[in-house]
């Protein structure tokens, strides 16, 4: 085995190494789904129990910003997918460029999310003693906002971790560490990034879009 070989000592072939890395990421994503699953279950139960409070609370969210962020995040998934393809073809510059674009779009998402949180703060929609809600059933509306902040907060945390990993990945790509035989890290991070994207695809309709048509 040569000095520069990227085949780890305990694997027999690049194919085995690649399959292992990919399966490992899928197994990791399975546990992530169960991790978010607890929150989705809580959301389902409480929405079913307090439909009115949840519908009116949902109306407090900014659908425009939510939609904008959804498009931004889908765009970042596109650039991520392109980066994986660049890496598979051994195109170093393309990989770096698309990874940087992915980071930029991810950062835009987080900045917009920050503005949304600030807006909730100004309107006293943070659960707790200062919570004020003009709609019906203000007590249970707090439950919606606890879930809103838990779910989007956990999602944002995954984005922040993802951005950190992307920064490291970009540095590695710039050093030319990835080859057509072994770009498993790019693929793995790509899977992770798409997973975080998909979580948002579920969060957006559940939190922003529901119950609008028969309230206004």
């Amino acid at each position: 085995m040569s000095e520069n070989s990227t085949l780890a000592h305990h694997f027999d072939s690049y194919a085995q190494q690649k399959e292992s890395a990919s399966l490992g990421m899928w197994v990791f994503i399975s546990q992530e789904i169960m991790f978010f699953g607890g929150l989705f279950l809580a959301y389902t139960i409480y929405r079913w129990r307090f439909p009115e409070a949840f519908a009116y609370s949902s109306n407090e969210l900014d659908i425009g910003l939510g939609l904008f962020n959804t498009i931004v995040l889908i765009g970042s998934s596109l650039t991520m997918a392109l980066a994986v393809r660049n890496a598979a073809l051994g195109e170093k510059n393309g990989t770096v460029r698309n990874l940087i674009l992915t980071m930029l779009l991810g950062s835009v998402f987080l900045v917009v999310k920050g503005f949304e949180y600030a807006h909730k703060w100004q309107h006293h929609l943070i659960p707790g003693p200062n919570f004020q809600f003009s709609g019906p059933d203000p007590v249970h509306a707090q439950l919606f906002f606890v879930l809103y902040f838990s779910m989007t907060g956990l999602h944002a945390l995954h984005m922040i971790v993802g951005l950190g990993i992307l920064a490291w990945l970009t540095a590695q790509a710039a050093k030319g560490r990835f080859t057509p035989e072994n770009h498993n890290y790019v693929e793995g991070v790509g899977l992770y990034w798409h997973f975080v994207d998909i979580i948002w695809i579920f969060l957006f309709p559940l939190l922003y879009l529901f119950g609008r048509h028969h309230l206004t």
Partner: protein, 546 residues
């Protein structure tokens, strides 16, 4: 096996322990075998701490009045006993020590698929353990190991957040171990090693890993939500805003019931290996035993509601959970019957590992059958939250999981260290543990049936005789746990080497030197046969080629 001892085997010149021994060679090792040893040190520390808590509990309960410690301190002691034993000993015990060490060898691989993640999991485990230990030092918590809301989120005093975060962190070590095992079993098997040629130890760990991957994250998010609720004084389980504390119980037991199978399935894998090796036979009904592991893992996810028969869940839900709970008895019984059938007409060798395996079968059967009793709605309402429940799960956890762990440790100790332990003392201590265990916990079945509730530091005087029996048994059990520590450590100084295969067992791990070389196999093995192909007496006599 006396025949093997005669040839006076020599220790191999180079093996995984013979390399460098500086701190970073251990603390930064990526060798699954050394990481297994690191885990062994970790779980031993937490077992000792948890055991110390058990000593305090049994001392307090020797007398009816709460004279040794106030109720508040007693609550902290039994909580810390549960937290340490469940999350920091039982769950990592067999997978992270024996599984880590043996699984790659049993499938003919050089290492686990992700050696760095394996090392990371140990650090995560130790950080979680350190936080919990810190929580213990500053006074401990009194929520019970179950962290039920709203007690844990709003009313309990003490470092609840620290311990909860410690458990949360340790959970990820369990997830990473499971992830590593699943990928390793899928992708790293030696040529010819098909799924139905895998040792049952590997099947047990595969089933365990599935639970670790799908169950642990649910309790992780649940604990996170409890922590957030405690921190911000508002949360999803908070009844003041319409939150439901029962939802916590559902989420908690969705993990914590399957977690019981995280503890017992690897133990069952160990027992399958031992029974085959010491009866010189194929495991009877191999596929049934293998699929029983998967069956237990799957059914285990569908029975959590039997912890909540009295919590106010609907009667219909209770009935369904009760029914599915009965179903778990089927794959469990398949295993017990098949082990018994394997022993039948086997060439039994009464070595220490077999003593533990036989102890496991008996005690697990009692633990399992009382589990069926508890799974029955009507009976559970009578004994809910009594010592009957305590006795039941200790029969499964101590009589099952720990006996399996000790059996496995004794079986593979010569492989891990290259040394043989003292046979006399190992048999004596196996007997002491069996007697001490039964004396400790059998009286608790009676106490619970008579109505003694769990988690109180005082009790009516009519319960004292049985409690003294239990405390006396605990002392014997404690001695039984100390003796192996002494003779196992003493064996390291032993000049007599165990040889590659002191038991004359089959399996890839016995074909390589003891202790194994760092890369496990000099040449990659090719597997051509089913597991447990022990030569049978009648086969030997049969003329070749017929």
């Amino acid at each position: 096996m006396t025949s093997q001892h005669e040839s006076a085997p020599a220790l191999p010149e180079k093996h995984y322990l013979s390399g460098a021994w500086s701190p970073q060679d251990w603390l930064l090792t990526k060798d699954h075998k050394r990481i297994g040893i690191l885990y062994l040190v970790g779980i031993s520390i937490f077992f000792a701490l948890g055991g110390l808590m058990a000593v305090l509990i049994r001392m307090e309960l020797a007398t009816p009045s709460g004279d040794l410690m106030p109720a508040d301190v007693y609550n902290r002691v039994f909580t810390m006993h549960g937290v340490l034993m469940v999350f920091f000993f039982l769950i990592p015990s067999i997978p992270a020590v024996l599984g880590n060490f043996l699984l790659p060898i049993m499938i003919g691989a050089k290492d686990l698929a992700f050696p760095k993640i394996n090392l990371l999991s140990w650090y995560i485990y130790m950080i979680g353990g350190a936080m919990t230990f810190y929580g213990l030092l500053v006074g401990g918590i009194d929520t019970g190991w179950t962290f039920y809301t709203p007690l844990s989120s709003g009313y309990a005093t003490g470092p609840v957040l620290t311990v909860a975060v410690g458990v949360f962190i340790a959970g990820f070590s369990s997830i990473l171990t499971g992830l590593n095992f699943i990928v390793t079993i899928h992708r790293m098997r030696a040529p010819g090693l098909t799924w139905f040629r895998l040792p049952l130890f590997v099947w047990g760990h595969y089933a365990t890993s599935i639970i670790q991957i799908l169950g642990t994250p649910v309790v992780a998010i649940t604990i996170l939500l409890v922590g957030a609720e405690r921190l911000f004084h508002i949360g999803v389980f908070d009844p003041k805003i319409g939150g439901d504390p029962i939802l916590f119980q559902h989420l908690f037991w969705f993990y914590s019931h399957p977690a019981v199978y995280i503890m017992i399935l690897p133990s069952m894998g160990v027992v399958s290996e031992i029974i085959a090796a010491f009866s010189r036979k194929k495991v009877f009904g191999y596929k049934f035993v293998a699929f029983a592991s998967i069956g237990i893992a799957v059914l285990g996810f569908l029975v959590w509601g039997h912890h909540m028969f009295t919590s106010g869940q609907s009667l219909y839900a209770g009935a369904v959970f009760s029914f599915i709970t009965m179903l778990v008895a089927v794959p469990s019984a398949i295993k017990v019957f098949n082990w018994t059938a394997t022993l039948y007409k086997g060439a039994i060798a009464w070595d220490t590992p077999l003593l533990y395996a036989l102890g496991f079968i008996g005690l697990f059967t009692i633990g399992g059958l009382t589990g069926v009793m508890l799974g029955t709605l009507g009976f559970d309402l009578h004994v809910h939250d009594t010592y009957f429940v305590v006795a039941h799960f200790h029969y499964v956890m101590v009589g099952g999981a720990i006996l399996g762990f000790l059996g496995g440790l004794h079986y593979w100790w010569p492989k891990i260290t290259g040394k043989l332990y003292n046979e006399f003392w190992s048999k004596i201590s196996a007997g002491i543990i069996f007697i001490g265990f039964n004396l400790t916990f059998f009286p608790q079945f009676i106490l619970g049936y008579l109505g003694m509730p769990r988690r109180y530091h005082s009790y009516p005087e009519e319960f004292q005789v049985l409690n003294i029996l239990s405390s006396a048994g605990a002392s014997i059990l404690g001695i039984g746990f100390v003796i192996p520590v002494i003779y196992l450590l003493a064996s390291l100084a032993n000049k007599r080497y165990a040889g590659n295969n002191p038991w004359g067992a089959v399996g890839l791990e016995w074909q390589i030197p003891s202790p194994p070389p760092t890369e496990n196999f000099e040449t990659p093995p090719v597997v051509t046969d089913e597991p447990y192909t022990y030569p049978q007496p009648d086969e030997k006599e049969a003329p070749v080629g017929v």
